[in-house]
């Protein structure tokens, strides 16, 4: 069996003058959960749809399960599952009918009842999609893309628009699918989602991949991989926080709630000089919290912007 589920080489996709994807390369190992992350408009969906064979590359190549996704499109489609962003299903058909309908398009198919049971929608088998909640619709949309028991599953922004609880339950489902041995490629603009779910992430910005590694290594690779959150007895200016090892500083909130967020390389190295400097500024630390940096910080460090700027 080929080692790579997806291979993308020098992929470029232009629409007229606009370059949506600007020469990217990456590979996804079989059995892996791979995330393409980045802000809206970074080129994530275009990349995904080109790999799926929906869009033709301007140049470069995309291979899926060892096959060219355009020249061997028919065979590729038999073996992959695709959940599209913001795609709906038929009105007037029940969940069971939709699954059986989509199943009829494939050589290999799973029984509708088994699929519905997997996401706890057995008792909705005879309901129509419009009578489901947002979270249920999204769960249904994922199993509807698995009617052919795919080896490789593409999920485009699977949790966009869901409330936190529904999002978490969807994460469970995605992890569970991966546990069964399905390779998953997903896109998301939620850094937290990529960080919790993915083995490997490609961070995209303006059509390029700006970082490609596991979330842990990306975070460890930061110059300042820790965040120090402080509440102080009085407002201070930046000079009172500028000690060796402190990277970017951001301030949120007003008055009592004013929070200083410092990126630091090492808490043990930076804390003593920081306490001294604050004492000089006649400020005391009321409350302190240390947390590991997130993918969000990685994106900030790489691009100088927040993902949802």
């Amino acid at each position: 069996m080929e080692e790579w589920a997806v291979e993308v080489e020098n992929l470029v996709r232009r629409y007229g003058d606009v370059t949506a994807v600007d020469g990217i390369s990456f590979s996804v190992r079989r059995g892996e959960m791979f995330g393409i992350v980045g802000p809206n408009g970074a080129g994530k969906t275009t990349t995904l749809e080109t790999i799926e064979g929906l869009q033709t590359p301007t140049s470069g190549s995309t291979r899926v399960l060892g096959m060219d996704s355009h020249r061997q499109a028919a065979e590729v489609k038999e073996r992959i599952g695709v959940q599209l962003q913001a795609s709906a299903y038929f009105d007037f058909l029940t969940l069971k009918e939709i699954l059986e309908l989509f199943g009829s398009f494939y050589r290999r198919r799973l029984p509708a009842r088994e699929l519905l049971a997997r996401v706890g929608l057995e008792d909705k088998a005879n309901s129509q999609v419009r009578h489901l909640s947002g979270g249920q619709q999204q769960r249904f949309s994922i199993i509807a893309s698995m009617v052919n028991d795919p080896e490789l599953l593409f999920l485009d922004e699977p949790t966009t628009g869901l409330d936190p609880q529904a999002r978490r339950s969807l994460w469970e489902l995605i992890r569970d699918i991966r546990q069964q041995g399905t390779t998953i490629v997903l896109t998301t603009h939620y850094m937290e989602e990529a960080q919790t779910l993915c083995d490997e992430v490609a961070i995209m910005d303006y059509g390029r991949i700006v970082a490609l590694d596991s979330p842990e290594r990306l975070i460890e690779g930061l110059e300042a991989p820790f965040n120090l959150r402080l509440h102080l007895s009085r407002a201070v200016d930046a000079a009172c926080l500028a000690v060796a090892g402190v990277g970017q500083v951001s301030v949120n909130g007003e008055g009592q709630d004013r929070e200083y967020r410092l990126q630091v390389a090492s808490v043990t190295d930076s804390l003593p000089p920081l306490l001294d400097r604050l004492a000089e500024c006649e400020a005391q630390i009321l409350d302190m919290e240390v947390e590991k940096a997130t993918l969000e910080d990685v994106f900030l460090a790489l691009t100088g912007r927040q993902v949802r700027d």
Partner: protein
């Protein structure tokens, strides 16, 4: 493919609003026109004010009563009768003044109301004919020329008989053009076509199944509309079996026209607007409600090439004239030409993305 086709049919049959346009809308037309009862001879209420009692005027009134169309009511007061005429209680008031029939200077006078144009025209000419015939008979003259009326049709064709095939053609056309166009645009908007594209099923197969379901529905439409027409008193049972293949064939034109409309529309509202812009003029010009011969000659020449016109022509040939489908050869050839052209155009225009 069988699962897909069954699903496509289920979608159409479960769509109540769609079925309303497919079936109840055309049936409503038949119902409304049946209520008007346009085939019944008009009845004219005449109040007769007889101010010249005597044998002459009595014969005249008796003769008037014997005319089927006239409902005669003798009244005494002219002023009151004219007031009732204004109120719409009578269609006409006929005054027979003293001396009528003796002195030729004395004229019978008929009063009528401008409000009731259609009845006036029919009733006045009938009254004129009645007076002419009465005079001839009074003069004991024999008419030198009599007219024998013979229609080209083997039977009398009433308005309902004419209307029902028209409504059938209209129903099939409206439902298919607008139904196909809006459902395809909906599938595009909801990214269902995109979703089909990532499966091994060719999108063309999906579209063909959808369109095929509309063709099946048009067979149902044909049965229901003709059946209702018969219940409403229309005599359209001629060679009714042929109506099914004719409607089906013409519907190939309309469903493909629907695909063309879908290809040109970005939103469902635009699709239904454009669909209506195509089907409404045809509905009025192609002879659904009145024969195209009543149009100005240049327009008549033009509209006979619209796709609905030969459909209605062929339907009326088999349903009203009891002719076989072969007699509608010219109409069928025109429908066939439209079908080929529309299939080619639809397959060229309907591209994803």
């Amino acid at each position: 493919m069988a699962v897909l086709f069954a699903a496509s049919l289920k979608i159409l049959v479960r769509d109540r609003l769609g079925l309303f346009w497919a079936l109840f809308f055309p049936l409503m037309f038949i119902g409304v026109f049946a209520l008007f009862n346009l085939d019944a001879p008009p009845e004219v209420d005449i109040a007769v004010v007889n101010e010249a009692p005597g044998a002459f005027s009595e014969t005249l009134v008796d003769n008037l009563v014997s005319v089927e169309m006239f409902k005669v009511e003798p009244v005494g007061d002219l002023q009151a009768a004219r007031q009732d005429l204004k109120n719409g209680e009578y269609d006409m008031v006929l005054l027979l003044p003293p001396g009528l029939g003796q002195n030729t200077e004395v004229k019978a006078t008929v009063f009528y109301s401008e409000a009731n144009m259609v009845t006036n025209q029919v009733a006045l000419s009938a009254l004129r004919r009645f007076v002419d015939e009465f005079n001839l008979r009074a003069a004991s003259a024999t008419p030198t020329v009599t007219l024998l009326e013979e229609s080209t049709s083997t039977r009398d064709i009433g308005y309902m008989d004419f209307l029902v095939p028209g409504i059938l053609g209209m129903g099939v056309m409206n439902y298919s053009i607008i139904g196909v166009a809006t459902s395809l645009v909906t599938y595009h908007e909801k990214r269902i076509l995109r979703r089909i594209q990532v499966t091994p099923l060719p999108v063309a197969a999906f579209v063909i199944a959808q369109v095929g379901a509309f063709l099946v529905l048009s067979v149902l439409q044909t049965g229901v509309i003709l059946g209702t027409g018969v219940l409403a008193g229309a005599d359209v049972t001629g060679n009714f079996v042929w109506a099914f293949p004719i409607a089906l064939m013409a519907n190939i034109v309309f469903v493909n026209l629907g695909i063309v409309v879908a290809a040109a529309s970005k939103t469902v509202a635009a699709a239904s607007g454009m669909g209506n812009a195509i089907s409404l003029p045809m509905m009025f010009l192609s002879g659904v409600f009145f024969p195209i011969e009543q149009l100005p000659p240049f327009l008549e020449k033009l509209v006979q090439f619209l796709p609905l016109t030969p459909l209605l022509g062929a339907l009326r040939t088999v349903l009203l004239d009891n002719e076989s489908i072969l007699s509608a050869g010219g109409d069928l050839a025109l429908i066939g030409a439209w079908a080929v052209a529309m299939v080619l155009l639809a397959s060229r225009l309907f591209k994803l993305e």
